[in-house]
Chain length 453, copies 2
């Protein structure tokens, strides 16, 4: 029997879509770079059924592309014509919230926002958060170690996963639903599956760490003279604001462009750098952030500051940072996502920006990012750019990343789009070790082939 026939026999026809039943959404993640449909889509509704599907694919040497909410930006979930897509969308549900341990056990297909809401309903914060929360799924978030603005307070996604269940290439189910912060019993197998983009196993369940739900929030916009001043402000904020939950930087070009795009004007003057500071756990009448900013104005570290007086103010600050209009207003927008030592980001941005403008004088180049995590985003738009130009933009920027000993992917992952550049951030010895691990866990190479390594 063919692999499709075997799968239909094992999973039932309702769980195996082929031909015209394969929806267009299985073609590409949010990078919109995928251009082919998979030959079938599997939609198992239980871990056992998913494991059986992988056993059969393994026996047939059939390649499998795991698909979550398809919100990735690196092409990591894009299929090739002969791949079978494995959708997690029916493997949903919050199985338990343990209020004493502060943990949530959740199936991988559950949308992040559903899990966040369930945590809130139980009086907790699920600290994993990112812009695509409405459609991304827990399994996809974990398999890409997706980041976001709260990493500065609560750590990376991988730091918030206490237990994990994953299915290996041959269908072996690996269940380790640990709930304690500390567990030193042999190799930390969780970390192999988190961030490996479905190339070592398919995540099916997780135990996530919850935190107490903060009761209030304060948000400020600060104007600064230099990048160095921003790093000084960061250090003093980390020391003096225990509830610090976001510290986002925007270079002048980025801030001005996006203020205009959303029709807002916050300061009467223009400033070289703007920082958003947000704290959680402070009631609206708390003076913590106010006092902190007054002191920084007095000592000259910041040039001006605004504290949001309403939710409308706050959303206005964030609208500029989120820059949602950029894609519409700027043609051929390339959004790069790099990281390096915090102290180097300032000169990196100068050098990289100058080189991009020297090569593409018409380009719009702007910088913003999560400075506390060493994570910088670079938005580059070159009118009438062709595919070769877009490749060259990446090569120019990643060349500086290599020079600055940085990472070509801080939070978006490697997928297919950054695979050609992986050696800019990883040595041959590291790549060789990744290949050994891949060969040990997936000797037939059926899991998400062509991705990452």
């Amino acid at each position: 029997m063919s692999v499709i026939q075997d799968l239909i026999a094992a999973l039932g026809p309702g769980a195996v879509m082929t031909g015209n039943n394969v929806g267009a959404r299985h073609r590409s993640d949010a990078s919109l770079t995928g251009d082919t449909l998979p030959k079938a889509v599997l939609r198992p509704d239980s871990v056992d059924s998913l494991a059986e599907a992988l056993r059969l694919c393994h026996r047939h040497g059939q390649s499998v592309v795991p698909q979550g909410g398809m919100t990735g930006l690196a092409g990591g979930a894009n299929p090739r014509p002969d791949d079978i897509a494995l959708s997690l969308e029916r493997l949903t549900g919050i199985e338990e919230i343990d209020v004493q341990s502060g943990t949530m056990t959740v199936l991988a297909g559950t949308p992040l926002e559903t899990a966040q809401q369930a945590a809130r309903d139980a009086g907790f914060l699920l600290p994993i958060d990112l812009g695509a929360r409405g459609s991304c799924q827990i399994g996809g978030v974990l398999s890409t170690n997706a980041g976001g603005i709260r990493v500065i307070r609560y750590g990376q996604t991988r730091d918030n996963v206490l237990g994990l269940e994953a299915v290996l290439a041959d269908g072996t189910v690996l269940t380790s639903l640990n709930k304690a912060i500390k567990n030193n019993t042999g190799y930390d197998l969780r970390q192999l599956f988190i961030g490996s983009e479905g190339t070592l196993g398919v995540i099916t369940r997780a135990v996530l760490r919850l935190r107490p739900l903060p009761v209030g929030r304060q948000t400020a916009l600060c104007a600064l003279q230099s990048y160095e001043d921003a790093t000084r402000l960061l250090k003093s904020a980390q020391l003096e604001l225990p509830g610090l939950s976001a510290f986002e930087i925007m270079w002048e070009d980025y801030f001005r462009f996006n203020e205009q795009a959303v029709g807002l004007r916050h300061f009467s003057e223009t400033y070289p750098f703007i920082v958003i500071i947000e704290t959680e756990g402070e009631e609206p009448d708390d003076d913590g952030l106010q006092d902190f900013l007054s002191a920084r104005l007095d000592d000259g570290l910041i040039l001006d500051a605004l504290i949001a007086q309403s939710e409308k103010d706050r959303l206005g600050f964030w609208a500029v940072r989120e820059g949602l209009e950029m894609d519409r207003l700027l043609p051929n927008l390339v959004n790069l996502d790099v990281s390096m030592a915090i102290g180097r980001l300032g000169t990196f941005a100068e050098d990289c920006g100058a080189a991009l403008l020297a090569r593409f004088p018409q380009a719009h180049v702007s910088f913003f990012g999560h400075v506390g995590d060493g994570n910088l985003h670079i938005a580059v738009s070159v009118p009438e750019a062709n595919e070769a130009d877009i490749g060259e933009i990446s090569r120019i920027a990643y060349g500086f990343v290599r020079t600055y000993y940085g990472s070509i992917s801080a939070e978006h992952g490697i997928g297919t789009l950054k695979r050609p550049y992986l050696s800019y951030s990883r040595s041959e010895a590291e790549l060789e070790l990744m290949r050994s691990i891949k060969a040990a866990l997936d000797p037939k190479g059926i899991l998400n082939p062509g991705k990452v390594i």
Copy 2:
């Protein structure tokens, strides 16, 4: 040539100790269970020289036991007679403190306390901390993912390692001295070496995350009626005390025994549970902890509380928790280190304690631990216990750990001592995957054989 001759030729005679030159300290870690000297001790003074040593050992199929400060409690650094010990003690030094990134780059043989002091001198906190800080080394701390009381605030050791250099079994040097919090470029190779107790590679350098140095500290002792109340207090402390840096629980027997041992009496009454709460970042005249405790006394969650009014008070609280006299006063003391869902620790302690006393009516059994991390220590002393009795104590306790889906080693690691019990916390599928990874990274099995798996 023999492996020893090859090593002397490559490293020089000063870096290869044999025969009577092998000191007794290379026999055993702090568990005092090692009873043989290794056939040689290597003391390379550079990463290149260490890599050359491993290349030669690999070629000869010579087993190697990495040794740090020898403060482990699981026998993970104990040699067998035919092993060669690889001491990191000459690979010391802090190579850089990057004040803008808040990172320290350090060689693996550096004592933890030296690194902590260097961080403080630069105005930072190195948040990794444990009791053996004076003699343990960074490499050993990382290779065991050693825990401690500050995990509740700053996360596990593995969460505080940004970059790592390790040498593989065949002498390949894997250097990834990343400094950014976020880095999603392929597999997280760091995590393979952290906590794998030297069985997959030898850690030689690390980039550690630093935090702003807290300016003040407040410490309190709280009396509670029940374990459930302690978990409620934990949740409210995590919400309301942003500087919470320790939350340690002691069961009545533990507290009373250790108060007597150090000659202190804190409360006029006896209480079923005592909790130490410590906050950092509060000046002595701050009212945060005072206000929190007053509110908890008002709502009846705590029965009594004392706030340290001096460093002497504070050290008195901690002296009871540290229980340093137990080893001297209680014969054959067995100290177990388990973890599980926080909500289950209370009944676990009841069940496990009752079963131990049923089997050993003369036993002194007491419980204490890092409740915020789900981590419980069990101190068991049976007068005139023989080796079989000590094995039975572990089997009884680990049997309950298995029933409660817990971990047999929260922070001490597996080493040799807990290896027979690893299957109490890990499934056969997990053990099989660990063996695959071991085979992929160390096909000849020369790195710390007989440890962990």
